[in-house]
Amino acid sequence: MMKPLKIIYSALLLAAAPMLSQTATTVPTQSNSATAQVKNNIVTAHERDGQQVFDQNCSRCHNTPQGFSPRIAGTVARHMRVRANLSKEDEQAILRFLNP
């Protein structure tokens, strides 16, 4: 009985490790509310980065599209990477911004 439980705990720990490593300095506890806050902070930070990259690169030439299907977010980001000579990191930031 212990073996599957150990596997499960190990898997959970492994899955949570990258997230914890990103937020270890700001989140001392692992309560549910803190975890939710961490998730919000991560998403907000990503969106802010993406918004900034979008404003600095895409908006240099054109206005922000008023909305489009999330199914083409990756295509839009790849197009912008080529057209605007974006770095790989900027492409991923825009992708997160377009399709959070």
Binding site: I72, G74, T75, L95
Partner: protein, 352 residues
């Protein structure tokens, strides 16, 4: 195996498995599986232009296709469908009309490394800023600048290959480059001139300032060089864009400076006044050779000022009204233009 068949453990296991899947998908895999369905984009519009008293009408459609293949490849193309209705002239009444179909570009982009994209096919010539960035009708506000054909090798496109990408990027500076070689082509759909060139520009994110330089060499017949530079600035706290470009070629040299101010500080970008965008541009060219119709440059020293009011309606519709005055020893005249432009962007096919 026996323990997994026990329902006491199966239910929690399923829940944990589901939670883990959601966790991984939302935090790590999610961005990677963002949809890359091919898209159709572009613009459609109706333009009128009255130059020195003669009015032409142009219904226009500019479709764009973007089709990613795998993780590294992108096929993209843009076409132009323009119907021009203009006065017959020569003392005759009535109008003539002509249909113009063309490809702006049809290219394959292979993202080889984080810093290098290899482009092959029929591509827009990377010289200055207008050709690659501002030619789409849903982006560019004003007519092509007078110096447009300097460095863009007349047709504005090349048939061959190009290397481009981001050489270096940090919080302080981003360096980008493009270098191309084009073969000569007289094919109706892929007109290009044998040429080579490229550009490099630096963008300073904190200052929101871009400075760049371009070079092009015509390799057909009499080999000539074109050089150019551009400066773009967009202050972060004000919805202002300042764009400028200078180019020098064998036949002419000149510059343009454009300011663009969206009145979004008045009750926001969606307010009545916030949708308004006045644009002003001044440009000059200086002729350095005898007039030559094939270079598509003004035949004499020319100055021109453009003033436009653009109004951004909901649903990606923009209405523009422009007045321009051109001064030259060959004649001074007014240009009045109006346009309605609709921008579209949707997946190429239906999906989940």
């Amino acid at each position: 195996m026996q323990c997994f068949s026990n329902s006491k453990y199966v239910k929690p296991l399923r829940r944990i498995g589901t939670a883990l899947s959601v966790f991984w998908i939302s935090f790590f895999v999610g961005p990677l599986i963002a949809q890359t369905t091919p898209l159709i984009s572009g613009g459609a519009g109706f333009l009128t232009s009255t130059t020195a008293g003669a009015t032409t009408y142009q219904p226009i459609a500019v479709p764009v296709l973007e089709a990613p293949i795998g993780q590294h490849l992108l096929i993209e193309s843009r076409g132009n469908l323009v119907e021009t209705v203009s006065p017959s002239g020569g003392g005759q009444g009535g109008y003539n009309h002509s249909l113009f179909l063309s490809l702006a570009y049809l290219q394959a982009d292979y993202i080889a490394t984080p810093h290098l994209t290899v482009v092959g096919g029929y591509f827009l010539t990377p010289f200055g800023t207008y050709n690659e960035r501002l030619t789409p009708i849903w982006i560019g506000n004003l007519d092509a600048p007078l110096i447009f054909s300097i460095g863009t090798m007349v047709s504005g496109a090349g048939t061959g290959g190009m290397l481009r990408g981001n050489a270096f990027s940090s919080d302080k500076i981003s360096l980008s480059y493009a270098a191309y070689f084009s073969a000569g082509s007289t094919n109706k759909e892929f007109t290009s001139t044998r040429s080579a060139g490229g550009q490099m520009y630096a963008y300073f994110p904190e200052k929101r300032l871009e400075v760049g330089a371009s070079y092009g060499r015509l390799l057909d017949g009499k080999q000539t060089n074109s050089v150019g530079g551009h400066v773009w600035w967009e202050p972060a706290k004000v919805p202002l864009k300042v764009r400028s470009e200078y180019a020098h070629g064998a036949h002419s040299q000149g510059y343009w400076v454009e300011t663009d101010y969206r009145l979004s500080q008045i009750h926001g970008a969606e307010s009545f006044f916030g949708r308004l965008e006045p644009i002003f541009r001044i440009q000059q060219t200086f002729r350095e050779s005898a007039p030559d119709r094939t270079d598509f440059l003004p035949s004499a020293n020319t100055q021109r000022t453009d003033f436009q009011l653009a109004y951004h309606l909901p649903h990606e519709v923009r209405v523009n009204a422009t007045y321009a005055r051109q001064f030259s020893s060959t004649g001074n005249f007014n240009i009045w233009e109006t346009s309605v432009v609709y921008r579209f962007l949707f997946p190429a096919w239906k999906g989940k």
